[in-house]
């Protein structure tokens, strides 16, 4: 083996100068992708990062009651706190009263423990009459709840900068006073149902899409060009129509006085004064979402089926397989990558679907994304909306991981 180094004309080792030349090309390529990289960073990764951050960020209250939380650190948690804690609380509340910002902490504290709202409001109102010294008795005099140890435990619990209570709330759990995770009271458990419904809807929409898309994709892949092009346009037409328009047309079709109900009545399947409700419930969500997501199943299936040579089925038959056996043993396994890609696509899109369930779903057909939107726009609990969003993201990643385990992500084919 020769160990002699090959030199280029300028005396440098060839290996080095080759790498140099390549580096230049790499830099050029990097420059070309830089805009996209920046775009993704700014519009995709940063918002997601911000969302994850918001969902656990609980520093607002820490900033507003700094002295109280510092002095509470030394508290043993068994008896009522010492005088200095009350003094610190007085200092913080006075400052909040002066700046008129105490409203912000009320919501947060009240979420932690009911009763804080009136407690803080009353205390702040009477704060002007406080005299220096002996704050403990003055506080308890103002409101007897200041003599209740549970309120201080609650205060201590909100002290950390980071909290995962929003995530607990997302699955109908909460922390009790001692920091144990417990279930929400029965009348406040709504999110578990919502998650299950979202998963159920996504699952069934995927199944329906698969059942409807498989034959049509096969037809698309096997028809002569001139027919398959026309059929392809029919499949893609909904793709080119606004989502809102399509959903609204479903509203027209599915409403109680709509054509589908007319037809059902005409067939005598329902009485005219007892028309079935096809909309503002889970049926409407199913129907509209299946139609809207169908192309996402058809396209990957079609592109995979297109690559399957018709001679394979012929070979299967000539070797003695009945058409059914040839289909099950040869054709179907070869379409699995397409089924995987299509199902994953439809399922992931369905699990975060927003507009359609919002418009046709009603109360019983709304999904987790509608709740996220509600907390973003109406209740303004952004932290909670972020937590729900993060859980949704995690759920999608888990599905992706499961899929990779079961089918293998290399087995996905979009064309």
């Amino acid at each position: 083996m020769s160990t002699e180094k090959i030199l280029s004309s300028d005396g440098l080792p060839l290996e080095v100068s080759l790498k140099k030349a390549e580096r230049k090309n790499k830099m050029k390529a990097m420059m070309l992708v830089a805009p996209l990289f920046l775009f993704i960073l700014i519009t995709y990764l940063m918002p997601i990062g911000d969302m994850l951050f918001r969902s656990v960020d609980d520093r607002m209250i820490t900033k507003m009651l700094p002295n109280t939380f510092t002095s509470l650190e030394k508290w043993n948690g068994k008896n009522l706190p010492e005088e200095q804690v009350y003094a610190a609380l007085y200092e913080d509340l006075s400052y909040l009263k002066k700046t008129k910002t105490y409203g912000k902490i009320i919501a947060r504290l009240n979420y932690e423990k009911g009763g804080f709202s009136s407690l803080i409001k009353k205390t702040v109102r009477k704060l002007g009459k406080f005299e220096e010294g002996n704050y403990k008795s003055q506080f308890i005099e103002t409101h007897k709840r200041w003599g209740d140890i549970n309120y201080f435990i609650a205060l201590r619990n909100v002290a950390p900068n980071w909290s995962y209570v929003k995530y607990l709330k997302g699955v109908d759990l909460k922390l009790d006073q001692d920091g144990n995770i417990i279930q929400q009271p029965e009348d406040r458990r709504i999110y578990k149902t919502l998650w299950l419904r979202t998963l159920k809807v996504a699952f069934w929409v995927t199944v329906f899409c698969f059942i409807l898309a498989y034959p049509i994709s096969h037809l698309l892949a096997t028809l002569p060009m001139k027919y398959s092009n026309l059929l392809m346009i029919c499949v893609l037409l909904p793709f080119w129509t606004s989502l809102l328009v399509r959903t609204s047309s479903w509203m027209v079709l599915l409403q109680q006085q709509g054509p589908i109900n007319d037809f059902i009545v005409m067939l005598g399947l329902a009485a005219n004064d007892n028309r079935p409700e096809l909309m503002y419930n889970v049926i409407g969500t199913f129907v509209a979402m299946t139609q809207i997501l169908l192309p996402f199943m058809v396209l990957p299936l079609y592109s995979v089926m297109k690559t399957i040579s018709p001679s394979l089925m012929r070979a299967g038959k000539s070797l003695g397989g009945t058409p059914f056996v040839a289909f099950r043993k040869i054709y179907f396994p070869l379409t699995v990558p397409g089924i995987g890609a299509g199902s994953l696509l439809v399922f992931i899109l369905a699990i975060g679907y927003y507009i359609t369930p919002a418009l046709v779903g009603g109360a019983s057909g709304s999904l987790i994304s509608n709740t996220i939107a509600y907390h973003m726009k109406s209740s303004l609990d952004w932290a909670f909306a972020s937590a729900l969003g993060a859980m949704l993201l995690a759920g999608v990643l888990v599905i992706y991981w499961l899929y990779n385990k079961l089918v293998g992500i290399d087995n996905i084919k979009l064309g």
């Binding site: 012929r314 070979a315 299967g316 038959k317 000539s318 070797l319 003695g320 397989g321 040869i330």
Partner: protein, 362 residues
Amino acid sequence: MSKNNEFVKFDNVDKSYDGKVLVVKGLDLNIAEGEFITMLGPSGSGKTTCLMMLAGFETPTNGEIYLDGAVISNIPPHKRGIGMVFQNYALFPHMTVYENLAFPLKVRKIPKDEADKKIDKALSMVSLHGFEARMPMQLSGGQQQRVAVARSLVFDPQVVLMDEPLGALDKNLRENMQYEIKHIHESIGVTVVYVTHDQTEALTMSNRIAVFNDGKVQQLSSPDKLYEEPVNSFVAEFIGENNKFAGEVLDISGDKCKVKLNSGTEILANPIAVKAKGEKTTVSLRPERALINPTDKMDNNHKGKIEEIIYHGDHTRLRVDLLGNKEFILKVPNSTAKLELKKGNELNIGWNSVDCRALDPK
């Protein structure tokens, strides 16, 4: 063993896809048991359609196909028990070599130990032992082809159909595979119906060749007969190299006829497809049957001028202007007795009337 000469029988079979054009017209063809028969013809001549009808993927528009005496037109492909090798191999890409071969045995519910023996035998037949666990994608084109052949034979079919199976291989590999398939056929004696458009392939492999053109069998005979005694101009032209002269029959007497060529010269020819005086004809002569400076006396002797000399290694090919045909080809073997070959030289060229066949005008 008495051979069944009508093991596969096409009886007046027509096929039309669109109801307007007949792709196969009135086909009558008998294939003997254990025979290697090739359907040869240009693309669109109906040969593949015939194969597909035999396999059961197409139904005849008219007529019947018999297999071992029974009508098979109504039997679906999977019940015919006919093995098939496809043009692009059609190996199942998601199955290993073993699974590919096991497929026809599994659907026939053959017990595993017996199936393993059969697979073993089939794989050793194509010398692919040890490749059981490979996926088709991991095999070369030639190996895939062998697997396809083994798969078509593993369930001991009565007939094996091969649809241009060597089309995708390079020249050397193709020649090797030709011999291999031929040997397999000889050793197991299965009936093979082979479709190709490659005449060398057909000539080397077959017992008999059916030359297809325009939906009809033009000639059905053994390779040597096909080459040396073509019955019409199409076959003469399609198989091997051919020199042709157009002319008109002046006189027929026994096994000789006088033909007046378009250049005005008269030659003696062998009347094959001409019956009467005054008929138009195309006279066909194989290049190797015309000799340069013949020493024996020959029926036809004419002078030609060398137009082009093409060196081919084992022989030299001359393009000669002879009797108004500027494309007349001569083959000169590259022997020690070298001729003085120069462009523009005149040569004496002679041939016998037996080799010079007066066929139908084209």
